[in-house]
């Protein structure tokens, strides 16, 4: 397993480089213009000058090379400087956003806390709710619990957040006034009071997001459990006199986890990526909001950097999932 992990990690480098190239070419090919949001009152000549100032006049391969150098050489130096107080990066140009004219990574780091607070909590809560629901629904298939679970999760999944988000705002913020409709990103948790306020403003976005996560994962959990509950080994385990709890929660669950682990691993990069629509509805302004804003403004350095970070996480978590398969089912080998 160790050699497999190392081999995959080494292989990840060219894969990621290739992915970054594809992303770059895709962004180049996509129609759009960083000047699209500039008012029409600005004459075309001025827009042309502004494009040149962004470096758009240079040929494509030079711009790609520049990004590679900035991202893989200068940004790590900046990080090192930040941690160790050195000054490797002094004077070097970092990856600069076209919208804000500031280093992309600074903005990303600024956005991380609120993204992790909201989307991360929702994901965690979603998984924690989904697993027991999925297990019990399968164990008691077609019981009232299963029926209600199915109904709620399917309706929850069919209703898109652009609607459910507004619905909960109208009910809980406008009519009842229990929770704020706008997330305050400047709130710092310093004491019990501010922690409560933080919880209060997280309730709505987290529940909207968690509903989607729960629906998805509980369905996969249930299906996978159902597949395994009728297998021979379950019968054998029961015949051996193992307790029901042990049979279901140890043997069946372990064998049913493979698809669920896959789904969970696929979702983790998405936590970092934020939830575009939910963030927009509640004004959380996390990374999802940053990405969609950058795409709409054709802020290519920002989009390129963000998508590349997602790519790294995707490759990493898919690798983790692959390793987890081997742990869950030792018969799976990759050599």
């Amino acid at each position: 397993m160790l050699t497999f992990t190392i081999r995959r990690l080494v292989l990840a480098v060219p894969t990621l480089l290739f992915i970054s190239l594809v992303i770059f070419l895709l962004l180049e090919l996509a129609p759009g213009d960083p000047m699209a949001q500039v008012p029409l009152t600005v004459p075309p000549e001025v827009k042309e000058r502004m494009r040149e100032a962004l470096g758009l006049g240079q040929p494509m391969h030079i711009r790609f090379w520049k990004w590679l150098v900035q991202f893989f050489w200068i940004e790590p130096q900046v990080l090192a400087d930040h941690i160790f107080g050195t000054s490797f990066s002094a004077g070097d140009l970092r990856v600069i956003s076209w919208q804000t004219r500031s280093p992309v990574m600074d903005t990303v780091i600024e956005r991380l806390p609120q993204t992790l607070w909201v989307v991360g909590t929702a994901y965690l809560a979603g998984i924690l709710i989904a697993l027991p629901i999925g297990i019990y629904s399968a164990y008691r298939q077609y019981s009232w619990f299963d029926q209600i679970g199915t109904f709620v999760s399917m309706v929850g999944f069919s209703v898109p957040p652009f609607f459910s988000g507004v619905l909960v705002i109208v009910i809980f913020s406008v009519n009842l006034g229990w929770f704020p409709s706008i997330y305050d990103t400047t709130l710092k948790v310093t004491d019990w009071d501010s922690f409560l306020r933080q919880l209060q403003q997280m309730v709505l976005p987290v529940s909207v997001l968690a509903l989607q996560v729960t629906a998805q994962i509980s369905r996969f959990m249930r299906a996978s459990m159902l597949d395994n509950l009728n297998q021979d080994y379950v019968r054998t385990a029961r015949a051996k006199g193992l307790g029901e709890y042990c049979v279901v929660m140890v043997h069946v669950l372990r064998n049913s986890m493979i698809p669920v682990v896959t789904v969970i691993a696929l979702g983790v990069p998405a936590i970092f990526g934020g939830a575009i629509i939910t963030e927009q509805v509640f004004k959380v302004n996390g990374i999802g909001h940053l990405l969609i804003g950058a795409i709409q403004a054709n802020d290519l350095p920002m989009v390129q950097t963000l998508t590349f970070i997602f790519a790294v996480l995707i490759v990493l978590f898919n690798l983790i999932a692959d390793i987890a398969y081997g742990l869950l089912d030792p018969r799976i080998r990759y050599d």
């Binding site: 609607f163 299906a223 159902l226 896959t262």
Partner: protein, 368 residues
């Protein structure tokens, strides 16, 4: 697609874990002339209450959206500005005095007064306090377009896009997942391809697809069919990856099971292994992906048309109707309820269908 429930007699040795358990298959094979396993599946499917309900609702939805326009002829794009913001007939229920509790007798009389007002409203909607009319049973939108007609026309697009895109994503995902899981040599490249697709930013990808393929496709298939193909492909091509990963994971585990070794030891060919032993066993995650996929496809389609990448703006779809109605949530709640209900019903019915199919194909699950 599957013959999982019955050990093919010709194979000689029955794969241990699929055929031995006391399901219906082998017994019936022994009892009389070989009975097609498909009949068994159908029997189980037919007896499955959930599946039949799901099938009935699904058939109803499909029938409504495809044949409905014949029964309800008004044009979905016709603007009747004088009839704009007509409430749905359900608004009749809020006619009359609001309820309250002032002793049983008062409440009783209020209740009957309310029933009377509601009945009066249904019989003669023109007299109601809100603007209600039998000409528009589900009401009209802000331009006076009939919502029932829009729901029917929108459903045709949403249901066909949803199903076609889901099938494409499922087909792609299952094929790539099975191949990657089964053939070790292809696993690496195919999974890296999956990583690549997962990493690509959706919106620029769609913009590029539209840029490259819109004109040629509308040239080859006509504007509407061209856009349909493009949208189905766009959604399909950007949503097969989770299915592929899940299917592959299941196949990896499945491949090491005893019955696979047994099947291989008697020289079963790869393609036969896949169709006979692998696919039937990874069906349940595929079914779940199908249900979730349909919902995602319907919503994604609305996001596309909202971005100006989909059908022309005057073409209604359920997702779009829902989006447009969200602003009017407080004034005209029924406008969000209709499309929300339609999407949920479709997804639920597909979900129960999938459940039934899964149960029917599982010979051991039987009796539930």
């Amino acid at each position: 697609m599957t013959e999982r429930d019955r050990a093919a007699p010709g194979d000689g040795l029955a794969p241990a874990s699929t055929a031995l358990p006391g399901g219906a298959g082998p017994l019936e094979t022994l009892a009389g002339p070989p009975r097609s396993q498909w009949l068994n599946v159908w029997d189980r499917f037919r007896r499955h209450k959930g599946a039949m309900t799901g099938a009935a609702i699904f058939a109803l939805v499909v029938l409504a959206v495809f044949a409905g326009p014949l029964l309800w002829p008004p044009d979905a794009t016709l603007i009747d500005i004088r009839a704009r913001n007509t409430r749905a007939l359900t608004a009749c229920f809020s006619e009359g005095e609001p309820w309250g509790w002032e002793g049983p007798a008062a409440a009783m009389s209020r209740f009957f007064a309310h029933i009377g007002a509601v009945a009066q409203c249904f019989a003669n909607p023109e007299t109601a306090s809100a603007r209600i009319s039998w000409a528009h049973p589900l009401g009209t939108d802000q331009l006076g377009r009939d919502i029932l007609a829009r729901m029917l026309m929108g459903g045709r697009i949403s249901v066909s896009v949803g199903i076609a895109a889901m099938l494409l994503a499922l087909g792609l995902g299952s094929a790539i997942g099975v191949v990657a899981g089964f053939f070790r040599r292809l696993d690496g490249p195919l999974m890296r391809l999956t990583d690549l697709f997962l990493a690509l930013p959706l919106l620029p990808l769609l913009l590029v697809m539209m840029l490259l393929f819109r004109e040629p496709l509308s040239g080859a298939f006509g504007p509407e069919r061209g856009i349909f193909i493009l949208i189905v492909c766009a959604i399909g091509v950007t949503s097969w990856m989770p299915t592929a990963r899940i299917v592959r994971a299941d196949v990896l585990a499945l491949k090491e099971r005893e019955f696979m070794l047994a099947a291989r030891s008697i020289g079963t060919s790869d393609s036969r292994m896949i169709t006979r032993h692998i696919l039937p066993n990874v069906l349940s995650p595929i079914m779940v992906s199908a249900t979730l996929g349909i919902a995602t496809a319907i919503i994604t389609e609305s996001a596309l048309s909202f971005l100006g990448l989909g059908f022309p703006p005057d073409f209604p779809t359920w997702g779009r109707l829902l989006f447009d109605a969200t602003d009017y949530l407080q004034q005209y709640p029924e406008r969000v309820i209709w499309p929300g209900l339609a999407i949920s019903l479709t997804v639920l019915s597909v979900n129960y269908l999938g459940d039934g199919l899964r149960d029917a194909l599982d010979p051991r699950g039987g009796g539930r």
